[in-house]
């Protein structure tokens, strides 16, 4: 099994495969994302409790959810590359970091923008937003490790170990943040689940969700291709590809 994994995981195969795939992913992610957003903005019904500001739901919740799953994917990639020493998964885990931290940042900003009209303040120490902030710090740690080593291999390994520890810590952080929230109960309106999601709200949400995930996949592929260009620059197949402009 390992040999197939190694062959399948060769950067050369991945580069050519993803090179053919990118136009499709690009097209689909942009169209799906825009239909979702326009649907959410124009056609979805307003929420009886929060009015129009509920439309931020279609951006905040997908990005918050994807930020966490991208971190988990990054940890899985690092685990594979540390245990079976496959180079491709090392690069995949590095490229997950940038899109992951951008989604966390979007989730944080939209969270506070959504909260502002309902609470009157920009930031509230509520369980979900705080664990999102901590996820942001976890991402910062991984990116800092990736960029602080001269040797890219040791950098990827060190960041991989931190990603694995981080993923183990995410449930623990969620648990302790929830407990901390109940202990010092700050008086807030629990805004996320307050209003029930009707069907015609669910469809734009699902479209937005797929749009964001396709976009994330697209970014990860682009970033991995760049990483392959850097790390495989000495190999023959890459030199030929550059020569006859197949890049």
């Amino acid at each position: 099994m390992i040999t197939i994994l190694k062959k399948l995981g060769s950067p050369k195969w991945f580069y050519h495969f993803s090179h053919k795939l990118t136009p499709w992913i690009a097209f689909f992610s942009i169209t799906v994302l825009f239909t979702g957003m326009i649907w959410g903005l124009l056609f979805a019904p307003e929420d009886y409790l929060q009015g129009q500001s509920f439309r931020i739901f279609y951006v905040h919740v997908p990005t918050a959810f994807l930020a966490q799953s991208i971190y988990i994917a990054m940890a899985i990639f690092s685990f594979i590359s540390l245990v079976w020493r496959i180079k491709l998964t090392e690069m995949l885990s590095k490229s997950c970091a940038t899109i992951g931290i951008s989604y966390t940042f979007i989730a944080l900003v939209t969270g506070s923008l959504w909260g502002a009209p309902t609470w009157g303040t920009w930031w509230i120490w509520d369980a979900r937003l705080t664990s999102m902030l901590l996820l942001f710090f976890l991402y910062l740690g991984v990116i800092a490790l990736h960029s602080n080593f001269e040797n890219r291999q040791t950098a990827a390994k060190a960041a991989g170990i931190l990603a694995i520890i981080g993923v183990v810590n995410i449930p623990i952080i969620k648990l302790s943040v929830n407990w901390w929230n109940t202990l010092h109960q700050p008086a807030t309106l629990k805004f996320t689940q307050a209003s029930s999601i009707t069907v015609d709200m669910l469809i734009p949400f699902l479209i937005c969700f797929t749009g964001f995930s396709l976009f994330a996949a697209w970014m990860i592929i682009l970033k991995t291709q760049n990483e392959i260009l850097i790390r495989e620059s000495k190999t023959k197949w890459l030199k030929e590809a550059i020569k006859n402009h197949a890049i």
Binding site: R85, E150, N151, R152, Q153, R231, E232, S233, K234
Partner: protein, 229 residues
């Protein structure tokens, strides 16, 4: 001259087959193979950056990020774990001497860490070994006050100890002769001869020429021809 043959099983073989090693995605060496058994000296040669130290670290098992395999008595070294690590002594570029402890404490510490340390009077025993490189007057002095050359010789005294109580079967030495005067060079060479005659072997990298009358092999990096001298 009867050498007390090493109590461990006399025969041992250490083979590396088509080892290749990459650092920072650059090829350091590719498809290197070597095969040494007891009573042999392996001389690893090559310019700086040809991967000599990396090869030694691969043999010790510290560096695991390489392709190919290393077998000790026909068994991969990673499956042997502690059994393999009790066989060899590795002296790298760093002297591995703690600055805030005296010379005796340092050497005593390393003796305590090895399985074979049934020495009744450890202090006087270490003192006699220190004499061999003319360090016996430094026993109680803090290592932070020693010069680089003296520190090197304190590290090399561990070889004398290892030879005296047959601690190891294999020495893996990275540039052991650096900053040694002519007299020290001589004593170390005789020590190596004595060690090899006892049925052990040495893997060595050095820029100086070493003539030890024992079957020597050279492994030139990065091409990797393995020739018998």
């Amino acid at each position: 001259m009867d050498h007390n043959r090493n109590s461990l099983s006399p025969i041992f073989s250490l083979t590396g087959n088509n080892l290749s090693f990459f650092r920072n995605d650059q090829v350091i060496f590719r498809n290197i193979s070597f095969d040494i058994s007891q009573e042999k000296l392996l001389f690893v040669t090559g310019q700086n950056g040809a991967g000599k130290t990396s090869l030694l670290k691969i043999i010790t098992g510290l560096q695991r990020d390489y392709t190919g395999s290393i077998l000790f008595n026909k068994q991969p070294i990673h499956s042997l774990q502690e059994a393999y690590r009790s066989i060899f002594l590795y002296l790298g570029h760093q002297t591995a001497i703690t600055k805030n402890q005296s010379v005796l404490e340092n050497l005593q510490f390393y003796m305590n860490l090895s399985p074979k340390n049934s020495i009744n009077a450890p202090k006087s025993f270490i003192k006699t070994q220190l004499q061999k490189l003319k360090l016996d007057h430094l026993g109680e002095i803090l290592c932070s006050q020693l010069s680089a050359g003296q520190l090197r010789r304190v590290a090399l005294t561990r070889l004398f100890i290892s030879n005296e109580i047959n601690q190891h079967r294999l020495w893996i030495l990275d540039e052991p002769f650096v900053s040694l005067d002519h007299k020290g060079f001589e004593t170390l060479q005789n020590l190596m001869e004595d060690f090899i005659k006892k049925g052990n072997s040495i893997i060595l990298t050095s820029h100086q020429h070493v003539n030890v009358d024992a079957p020597t092999y050279t492994l030139d990096l990065p091409e990797g021809e393995f020739t018998r001298v």
